[in-house]
Amino acid sequence: MGELLASLGTGFGVALQPANLLWGFIGVTLGTFVGVLPGVGPALTVAMLLPLTVKLDPTGALIMFAGIYYGAMFGGSTTTILLNTPGESASIATALEGNRMAKAGRAGPALATSAVGSFVAGTIATLLLTLLAPLVVEAALKFGPAEYFALMVFAFTTVSAVLGASTVRGLAALFVGLFLGLIGIDSQTGQTRFAFGVPELLDGVDVVVLAVGLFAVGETLYVAAYSSRMPETLEKLKGSMWMSRDDWRRSAPAWLRATFIGFPFGSIPAGGAEIPTFLSYALEKKLAKHPEEFGNGAIEGVAGPEAANNAAATGTLVPLLTLGIPTSATAAILLSAFQNYGIQPGPLLFQTQGALVWGLIASLYVGNVILLVLNLPLIGIWVRVLAIPRPLLYGGILLFATLGAYSLHQSWVDLATLYVFGLLGFAMRRWDIPVAPAIIGLILGPLAETQFRRALAISEGDASVFFTQPISATLLALAVAAVLGPWLWRRFRSARA
């Protein structure tokens, strides 16, 4: 415990340095500004703002990213409540009640419960992260390549098969991502794979280009084609901005319950904040004294899912920081931000770069406070961002989306790749194929391949290592169960019926 406090103390020493505090402030502000833009979720916000940090030192950049992440999540909630266009699937539950509240002239309390709830859930979840991370690190230090490989396979299957509507479409996205991860020079042997003689492809496909292509270009094409001619209603901010005593009484328990639903979902490699937000929504509806209010703007229905979303997002930092395994699209982009600095998150990072990791964790506490003091007073500005006409908004989004891709090699080839990913994103959105498995497959595929080869090099080619070591065998069994389980369960049920 003393050691933990000392580490955290070092972390706060880093996070509270004026320069880092400034990066935190800039990150939260920029993140909120971009996150408020309709159709721009946290993952895209982080991806689009990545080029801004090229000249920063790693600690400052990562602290700025933590701010961007939190800011983007809050910005997204604002848009969801006032415009009813959830920027990501984890915001759908918020849209159910939040937009109804706004329509009924209670936008202020809806935004307030979302902001305070995010603060409460974010802070408790960060505390849980602080306590849990050293324990996971201790266990992970004993992991060899076989365990890491099994863990990654497990993460692949949970991210693609368990979440989402269809196992097979999730797996399709995953394998496309894994294929993209093969492109370029093989890190082990120097062999070029699937680059087709294009020099820009030798470095491999950049995660940011894939994310920006799928989310920004794909989304713009989709909205242009299918909803640019739909009327849009922006709810006005009127009435009291603050929550009444009754609102507090109803929100507080929902925040707490949702935090403990969201955090575990984020922290086991079964990430994604979508399921916990819906679980929290269902739970609040069940426990509510006035369930009939649900569907007409019940404040618990905003408080719960918002807190769950934030807690899950913080939870995804546990596997990301301690194991180097991203379990959400945003976490995958954060991992690529680490890699840009030549930093590989994992248990060793806590030993070699303690100040950086603990500085980042401390800055999460600070970021939550900044978010709370910055966002409610500035809400008027964020609402004005929402009023930007769509033609100009999407023009701006694509202008900045292309900038990031072009600055990689100063080559139009990256822009062509971006457009191809845009078409892919359009098709995936239109025909209900999840995007996150593709992004996670791209960044985690090469790491899994490396661990697989290392494990076999150690065992001198004996593939039984994956099944004879208990941790690895258990994880692989769970992975198989995740893919086949739902199918077997349906068979079993239909056989009995």
């Binding site: 394998f175 496309v176 082990q188 713009t220 001619r229 100009l392 701006g396 098709a427 697989f452 090099a457």
Partner: protein, 166 residues
């Protein structure tokens, strides 16, 4: 029974990609030395996986359509039918941007992109859009070049920037 051509096409796309990756794998060397795992192992797994998943998708598409899909009708999704001009304007903007950025430079290419996308979203004020696009692209250009030291092509405006001491 609902049978959707795009679903069949996408399933075939995954299947064909899988076959392509598998063929590409055969062209890779298998020599991996110590671990006996060469650079062709992972591609073989991925190629095989894509083939299996593509076949599975195709089976679903032919046998009653992909499972657990939302309603395909635009009205049920809160959308209007496919608006081809909008899609094409956005695409054209991106192509023009690709073609122009190396020669005309970042600012001009960005302005054109911005105006095309705005047109695709139904804007009827091209002059304003071009002006706004240029202003925004110029702002971004100055910020990245001067403040972040990221080099972006000045293109046809390089001389003007040079004269202005940028």
């Amino acid at each position: 029974m609902r049978r959707s051509t795009p679903e069949i096409a996408l399933s075939l796309g995954v299947l064909v990609l899988g076959v392509g990756v598998s063929i590409g794998t055969l062209l890779l060397p298998g020599e991996g030395g110590y671990a006996r795992i060469g650079p062709n192992f992972m591609p073989a797994v991925v190629g095989g996986g894509l083939v299996v998943v593509g076949a599975w998708l195709l089976y679903e598409a032919l046998a009653g359509g992909w499972r657990q899909r939302d309603d395909d009708l635009p009205a049920a999704r809160g959308e209007h039918p496919f608006h081809a001009p909008a899609f094409l304007w956005v695409s054209m903007g991106l192509f023009a941007h690709m073609a122009l950025i190396g020669t005309a430079g970042f600012v001009i290419a960005g302005g054109v992109l911005f105006a095309c996308v705005a047109r695709g979203f139904g804007s009827q004020r091209p002059t304003r859009d071009v002006a706004l696009g240029f202003a925004l692209a110029l702002g971004a250009f100055l910020f990245f070049v001067k403040f972040l030291n990221v080099s972006l092509p000045g293109g046809w405006l390089a001389l003007v920037f040079g004269a202005a001491g940028i």
